[in-house]
Structure formats: C-alpha cells, structure tokens
Symmetry: C2
Subunit: 391 residues, 2 copies
C-alpha cells in the first residue's frame, strides 16, 4: 500500500482550535476556574423551552424546512431587528444558519474568490481568519489603537484592488471594544465608495455597558446594499449548543448564498429554529435581567484588574464579556496559559490565537463568572502572573 | 456610490439548489403529489422524542459540546456501527456534523487543495459536486453502466496525479443502485494502491430491498486508514430537520478535520445529538418496521413503471427510495418537470441536476409515498408523460 497523498495545505497551515486546547487542559484540572470559553452564565428559561420543543409525531415537523429559515422565525426575527437595530428588512434578506460562524464562512465563499483579500482588524476573532484560510482568501490584518479601537485611516490605506470586504466585530471578541457609530459609519462609507462588502458581526449586540450603545451600520439608509450583518442567539439567549444564528444579506447575493447553504447545511436545525422564535418573541425582558447580572460583575472585576497594574494592563472596554489583558512581556503565550491552569487553577485564552501582539495578551471572559467566584478567580490570576513573572 | 465588485466566480458558476426550485413549484400547486424531495414517510416516535428532549434549565445543557460530538452519542454510535457495519472504531475516528452533507464539504476541504481532482460516478448527488466547486476542486465525472452500476475500470482510468479521492454513494442517490461488495472493494483497493481517499457515502444504508445487502468498505481490515464513511440519521430515522450525521475519518486527518469543524459548526446541535443517541440506542426495531412500509410500495411501483415502458425506462435498483427514470428524448428537462407539476400534479426532480444524460432522466422518490396515493401518482405520471410526449 502506498502512502496517502498529502492532505490539503489550506487546512494544514491553519491554527488548531484554541478553545478545544484550553478545554482539554481544563478537563484535566476540573477545579480550575474558567475565564476561557465565551459563554454566558445562563441557559434559556424552562417555561419557554417547554413551549418550543414539544414531542409531536407529525413527520412534517421533523423534515427539512426552507433553506433561508422557517417562515415563523424569519417573521419574528425581522420584527425584532427592525425594532432593536433599526434595520428595515423584507423577506429574502436573511438567511438562518447553525450559528453566525457558519454564516461568515458561507458568505465569504460568496463574496471572494481564492486570492482575494478581506480586511480583519487586529486582534481578530480566530474563526474568521480560519474561514478565510479554508477558502483561500488572504486575511489582511490591520492594527487597532491602544484601546483596541478601529483606525479607519489605516483600514482605508489597506484597501487594494484585491479587497472584497472589511470585517468589524462590535462589541468585539476578543477585546470587548464597542466601536462608536462614527467609526462604523466611516468604514461603511468606505465600503460603499470602494465597492466592498462591510461585514458587521453583532453577535454581542446585547452586551453593552455603562452607557455605551450598540450601532448597526445596516441601519443607515442605502447601506443594506453593501452590508452583511451577523446575529447570534448563542450569547444573548444562552443557547450556544442549539446552533442558531443569522445573517442579513444584500439581496443580490442571496441567489449565491442559497447554493452554499444548500451544500453545507440544507437548513438550520428545526427544533433550534422553533426555540429561537419563542425566545425572540417573548424572551427579551428575561434576557435583559440576565445581562444585568453580568453587568454587575464589571466594577468589581475592573477594580481587581486595576489593582494588578504591575502585572498587566487591562484596557477597560464597554462590551461583550471580554477584557484583553496586556502583559509586560513578549514570547509564546501558550506555556503561560498552561501554567496558569495547571499550577494556579485559572484558565484564559492565549492572545496569540487572535493575532494579538507584539506584547503578550490573554483574553479574559467573564460571561460565565459568578460574583461568588470572582474574588477567588482574581486571586488566582494575581498569584499566577506573579509567579510566572520571573520565569 | 460605485457598484459592488463582482462576487465570487466559484459560487456564481454553481447550479442553483434544485430541491428548492421544485419546492417553490409545489408550494404554488399544493394538490400536486411530490415524488421530489428525498424524505421518508415517517418521523421519530413520540415516546423516544419525549425522552430525548426534556426542558431543563441547567445552563451547561445548552452550551457548546465537544467538537467531535457528545461522548454519549459517540459511544452509542460507535457500538451500532461496529455491530451493523462491522467497522471497529476507537474514540477519535468520528466527527458528528449537522448532516452528512456538511461532513462531505468539510472533509473535502481537508483532503484536497484547489486545483486537485475528485472522482464522482455519474449521475452524482448534486450537493457533492457543489461542495467540490465551492472549494475549487475539480469534479471528474465517470459514467456508470446502463443499470447505474460502477465501472471500476473506467474509474481507475480516470485517476491522475491530481486525484485525491473517489466517491461512492451506495445505496445510491439519485439512482437507488446498491453496489455489490466486490465493486466497492475494487474501488477501495484502487484507493489504497494509488494513495487516495475512498469516500463511502452510506446515508441510505438501511434502505436495501429484496435480498440486496449493504456493504461498508471500511469494514475491511486496514481500509480505515484511507476510507471516509458518511452516515446520516435523516433518512433512517426520519429526522432530516434535526440535522445530524457523522463521518468516520482516518485518524491522521482528524487534526485538520477539527479545524474545519470549529470554523464552520463548532459542534453539532446538542438537542439533535441527544435525540440521535436515544434513537440509535433504542430505535432500530421501530426503524425496521418503518422501512418495511416503504419496501411494501416497491412491487406495485415497479409494476406500474413497467407498464409505462413506451414512455420511460426504469432500471429496477434495490436500494434507497429512488428510481431514475430514463425517457426516450433529449433536451432540457426543467420545462418538462414544470409541466408535470403545473398541468398534471406530479413532482419529480430533473435528472440534469445530477448530471444525468445524454437522454433525459427524472428522479422519482418513493420514500414519502403512501399505498393510498401510489395509483394516483402513477396515473398522473403516465398522463403527464403521454401528454408531453409530442411536445
């Protein structure tokens, strides 16, 4: 038997999934506190769950549904988006996917051919870079400022004849930065002027704090023709495992979007779509109360991080449930992450996975933290970083 | 505002999803009988549904699960595959996806770079061709014989230095052909000898009739190192809308497979995985009874088609729930499909979507047909094809 021919270089060159690596370390150290994976502390309320998922034998309830998404879900989601985001939508402008990660991958296949370029501000959400690499699209990485805010002029300077799209994630994963309306409009207008798509990832839209406000670029009249907006229910409603998100898509792209959806997913999981429809219609007050619980962690957390200023710098950002910790050192960060888990019982995500640098960074997720574990978590972090300081 | 730059040629050149096109026609003609989409007549039993999907508030039940699949599902599925298919598996050889379509797309990204070739016997399952096109892989189409059986010599002759994989679908979509063990072994040995991957799509494994038997090439000792096997629960258990399938993957590919899974899906929908585990553990007797109901349609159907021999030729195949009708004419088939729906109330899928030719073909799906509607369906088909004959 001869050896297998080489597998694809496109995937070989990609980074391994970092959440799984940290997860494996956590599994071996079950008493560690996780500030790793980006999940909220809550799941959906039982009363709405019970209404959404009833056991029924009717075979048609278990079959494929329209590729764009179930009509009942599309209707309620469009109404919610009109009200919350100010984006007017008609049928045919939305595709429901098994998470907005998938929407990003599928849409990049439609927007750009191999060899084209897509601009990602640094630090990026790693799955977005990975999606571009699978598709043979070149990620063009553009620095943000010291507070992780967009630099529209630097982005404009990075546009070439090969550029097809500019991605913004606000509130940001991994930094928590909320981009102001003016900056997002500037990017969106740049896209209009240069014939590009603006991909606005708004998975964390409901997590904005201390007076910051969320802005959807597609709400500007005319912007819908060149703006893709990504929404997720994973974080807002605590249903990451159900896999349901959506994208708002310029209508002229929908013909091609449907081809990719049909090839990859056919349709989003139907029970998940049913639950999404119920949560969107009736879950917003419950969701706000849950987000308020996360908000209540912020001041104690910000104070604890400020008290560690000899060990780290933590730019105070106003959204998502992340802080990106900047350490006064350089070099590979995974060994430090491993030591923090193994020796100090505290898990964070290495900043290198997001392309952060040149200084070492660690992403801290506080969505699943509780008030009871916060002081312990911060003590472990202080102890771990102090011990690692001279290594 | 300038115009958007052109969208990707890779997707632009792909065919549009044919099931959706026929579905739109059906929606406009609700009294038409559908022999179109490939779904069985049944959904899952209420008792097992109720056990699998219980409303529980524990947030951890709603979060991401391991990318490969939930441990409880992996364990039961591996045991079932060992028993039913004779494939010995260890942890780390399987990935659970939102349907086996998705598994195919993801695995092709891992197996082949843009410009490489993958061999698809004709007629092919359209989503597989579409997946290759999204990834920039060249589909190499190889004819089968008059009864839609593999021609291993022709396949061997199509292998080039660019070939990375050979795909077989048995029982076949769209033809219903069940490939004998000898032919599948020949393809699998060819792959071993030439350093290729054999992709064995076994989504219809439980639908074999009249003494035909299903064979899994990965059951041959040593074949697991170069064989990908795709399994689906959509057809066997009537849960297409839940989106759950899996792939058995040579272990050396798993590192790269996990990168693509993380970028596209993160993990398969968790409630769907729970239902899958219950159905696999306890649903096999119930499933056999349901498949027997479909089997009971075959003889009346075969007789009715034989009585139309002036209008069509229907090679009697022994698997899935499809027959591929060959018509004594050539030319575009979509106009005929539209007339059959509009004027005669009977829906089939145009053979051109599967690359069938040069004669015109129509795929007939009988999985969702009932004994009560069979005679009516056949009368409509006869009437439609007779009327269209001279057009």
């Amino acid at each position: 038997m001869t050896k297998l021919l080489s597998t694809s270089r496109r995937v070989e060159q990609m980074q391994a999934p970092v959440i799984a690596q940290v997860g494996a370390l956590l599994a071996a150290h079950p008493r560690a506190i996780s500030l790793g994976q980006g999940v909220p502390s809550y799941g959906p309320p039982v009363a709405l769950l019970a209404r959404a998922v009833t056991p029924e034998e009717d075979p048609s309830r278990h079959r494929y549904q329209p590729g764009d998404g179930m009509l009942e879900l599309q209707a309620v989601w469009r109404a919610v988006i009109a009200e919350e985001n100010g984006i007017g939508l008609e049928q045919g402008d939305m595709i429901v996917t098994a998470g907005s990660n998938m929407a990003f991958l599928q849409l990049m296949a439609v927007v750009a051919d191999p060899g084209a370029q897509v601009i990602l501000p640094l630090p990026y959400f790693f799955n977005q870079r990975m999606a571009l690499e699978i598709l043979g699209i070149e990620p063009v990485l553009v620095a943000t400022d010291h507070a992780f805010q967009l630099d529209p002029e630097r982005i404009a300077a990075a546009v070439t004849a090969k550029t097809r799209a500019i991605v913004t994630v606000s509130p940001n994963n991994p930094t928590g930065a909320v981009y102001p309306e003016a900056a997002l409009k500037q990017i969106n207008e740049l896209c209009a002027a240069r014939g590009l798509i603006h991909v606005s990832d708004e998975a964390y839209q409901h997590f904005v704090f201390e007076g910051a406000t969320h802005f959807s670029p597609a709400s500007v009249s005319g912007a819908e023709a060149h703006t893709i907006t990504l929404f997720s229910l994973s974080k807002s409603y605590g249903i990451a495992g159900w896999r349901v998100g959506c994208a708002l898509v310029p209508r002229r792209l929908m013909h091609d979007v449907r081809k990719v959806q049909d090839t990859n997913l056919i349709c989003a999981p139907v029970p998940s779509q049913r639950l999404a429809a119920v949560l969107l219609a009736e879950g917003s007050e419950w969701r706000k109360a849950k987000v308020a619980q996360i908000a209540a962690l912020r001041q104690p957390l910000i104070r604890a991080l400020a008290a560690m200023s000899a060990l780290l710098e933590a730019p105070v950002t106003e959204g998502a449930f992340y802080f990106m910790l900047r350490l006064p050192r350089t070099g590979p960060d995974m060994p430090l992450v491993e030591r923090l888990i193994r020796e100090h019982g505290i898990a964070l995500i290495p900043g290198s996975a997001f392309g952060a640098g040149p200084q070492m960074h660690l992403r801290l997720a506080y969505g699943a933290l509780t008030r009871a574990s916060l002081d312990d978590a911060m003590a472990r972090l202080r102890q771990g970083l102090s011990a690692a300081r001279w290594v």
